[in-house]
């Protein structure tokens, strides 16, 4: 093996109280690929520029996604990391592991790759960083034998992810992990074989706190909510007040619809005006809880800036009961995918597609009725393209 690379700049980042990625890298400094990676990274720190290129499709047989090809652009100098591909491994829902499961992944990755991982990648997958092309099939065989499979990449359904939900959170308004697993299994083909205009992400959050950022990061966000009254235990509220929470100031005055009143002993809520924002529940977790008639709101179309600017997702289905086998939802998803696959442009996310053709037209095409919960305000411009429903007599 080549000599140990000197890394004076990176060494700086071993200091300080926060966990150091350089220390993590150096735990494998004896692995030739990681030694060269350290050398190349030090070069980037010297020159203030990255040294990776994409180039060439790599993957495992029969899959179009899950592996990202990565090559050094300094291959002569750092030959051991010349090929340094990423594998995305579909994480278990909620990112729960047993110690044995972690060891299994570690052992496979030690046999075939760099020993470096991300726990987890941005979309949620387990990321194995740094495989050579020839190692991909053997890794895949061992992973599947151990019960793991690849996640998505490219223009496919990306690996769905979810918050911890009912496994450990009392606020979860539906079974996020169950739904995430179910949808992931249903769409294995769409996940592994890119056939869409661009990526399509599903994220499952159990309540409006949205711990998986689904409103910002997923083409389709399932955000838990409820329809009936918030459950208030006034004894608990009084206890919180005695413990120092200023109920008027911290709860009533910060409610977005000001639908609460506190008289010093009872917290009264006008539930018809509660928008389920979670604020009072977050601040008083022992005393105030979501109602019992629980389900989810479905939002559509979030994305990062590329190509046409960033979008937050918008309300699509204001409330639906989230119960397996989720047939209505899957039916809806296929109608969306059919329409978008046929008419979407290359690299056009569904959110941009909707902006281009108009949400109203989109709804009409997939057979969903427009409802006022979908908008923050009706249009203010008069450029309406009236259809045939306005008759010549002027009657709509």
């Amino acid at each position: 093996m080549s000599e140990k690379r000197a890394t004076p700049l990176l060494d700086e980042l071993e200091k300080g109280p926060w966990p150091s990625f350089v220390k993590e890298l150096k735990k494998s400094a004896d692995t030739p690929a990681v030694n060269d990676l350290l050398g190349q990274l030090e070069r980037s720190y010297e020159e203030k520029i990255g040294h990776w290129k994409h180039g060439g499709l790599v993957g495992v047989m029969g899959y179009g996604g899950g592996v990202i090809g990565r090559y050094s652009d300094l291959q002569a100098e750092f030959p051991e990391c010349a090929e340094f591909h990423t594998l995305r491994i579909n994480q278990p829902a909620g990112w729960f592991y047993t110690s044995d499961a972690l060891r299994t992944i570690a052992d496979i990755w030690e046999r075939h790759g760099s020993g470096l991982t991300n726990m987890h990648g941005s979309t949620g997958d387990i990321i194995l960083l740094g495989a050579k092309t020839q190692a991909l099939e053997p890794i895949f065989a061992e992973l599947t034998a151990a019960g793991f499979d690849l996640g998505g990449s490219g223009s496919d359904m990306r690996t769905p992810s979810c918050c911890v939900g009912q496994a450990r959170c009392e606020w979860a308004c539906y079974d996020t992990m169950g739904a995430c697993y179910d949808f992931t299994q249903t769409y294995q083909d769409e996940l592994h074989r890119p056939a869409f205009p661009y990526k399509y992400k599903l994220k499952f959050a159990g309540c409006p706190n949205d711990c998986v950022a689904s409103v910002a990061r997923s083409d389709m966000a399932f955000i838990g909510t409820w329809r009936d009254d918030i459950k208030v235990d006034n004894e608990g509220v009084r206890a919180a007040a005695a413990g120092g929470v200023d109920i008027q100031k911290e709860i009533c005055d910060m409610c977005p619809t000001r639908c609460m009143a506190w008289d010093g002993s009872t917290l009264a809520i006008d539930n018809s005006n509660c928008v389920k924002c979670m604020h009072c529940i977050n601040v008083l977790p022992k005393a105030v809880k979501p109602g019992d008639d629980r389900g989810a709101a479905i939002l559509i179309g979030a994305k990062a800036p590329i190509v046409g600017g960033a979008l937050l997702s918008s309300v699509f289905v204001p409330f639906i009961k989230m119960e397996p086998p989720y047939e209505d939802l899957k039916e809806l998803i296929s109608r969306i995918w059919d329409l978008w696959a046929e008419h979407g442009k290359n690299r056009e996310r569904v959110g941009e597609f909707i902006q281009r053709i108009g949400l109203g037209n989109f709804l009409e095409q997939i057979g969903l009725d427009p409802v006022p919960e979908m908008i923050s305000a009706p249009r203010s411009n008069p450029y309406i393209f009236f259809g045939d429903e306005v008759s010549e007599g002027g009657q709509a």
Partner: protein, 359 residues
Amino acid sequence: MSATKRLTDIGPPHYEKFLPPVVKKNYGQWDHHEILKQGVMVHVAKSGDKIFTVRAATPRLLNIATLRDFATLADTYCGGHLRFTSRNNVEFLLTDPANIEPLIADLTKSGYPVGGLGNAISNIVHTQGWVHCHSAATDASGVVKSIMDELYPHFVDMKLPGKLRIAFACCLNMCGAVHCSDIAVLGVHTRAPKIDHTSVPKMCEIPSVVASCPTGAVRPASVGGAQSVEIIEEQCMYCGNCFTVCPAMKINNAKTDGISIWVGGKVSNARSEPKFSKLAVPFLPNNPPRWPEVVGWVKKLVELYAENARKHERMGEWIERIGWPRFFQLSGIPFSKYHIDDFKHAGETFKRSVQIRQV
């Protein structure tokens, strides 16, 4: 015996295999939770069962040796059970409260600090940077490490007015939802790719390079008699797609790449609706290994928020209350034309009233 069949499309393992018994038993039956101290919380089920969570930071980039260490800790203290969070923290799941302190001691000794709950800074979600991505305008791990070394007290304490979520991405592709964070640190390219015309014909297929550009900025051109491409610079938004298919179109530029800082975004619906982060500092230089300019500004913004926001207010809620002019005044960030949107629907962010604080 025949060779084993090649397994495909099996999907992820079922999560049930990995759940602690107390979770399986009380699935969907949790009643409430409480933060016992920074980094430690208890969830209490309707049955009265309890699960204790100890949260520790990780650098996201983890060596398998570390995974094995975590596995050992989970065996020692948690019956082998642990999980990770959406912000790259590790959580150990215990049923015996007597194990909490020894676990914390072990984690602290190994350099994985315990914290990140409640009104604090949780881990910074981030991207690959120079460690592994081809279009990175800066490193990710190094900037994050530098920032968190400085903000560490806000991870191990709970002294902020509300939650503070910081995210980092190394280019506009923004792997990770940096665009809706209290503070978003974003690597930026500021120039269109440089075309190496001698390599284009050798390394790249011209039609696929042209097709790769989402804005149609790349077109075929003959340069010095050879087939190559040209870029209409005004149309380029520095996405690096052309570089992805053609290594001869280098987007990375040591001199002109840098970092911008955005503030006031959120994804939760609590109180105010989810919102984008908005531009605070347009450009800071890449200055490895410690990026002092970036760290300095992030720290300043956190301190400003800590001093001025009301209890439970997020960064964006605080700024909206005091108004952007005062934010610029307080922060000392010079306001420039770059702060004024000039993309689609830009006018929506123009001020259309005279409700102005005239001081």
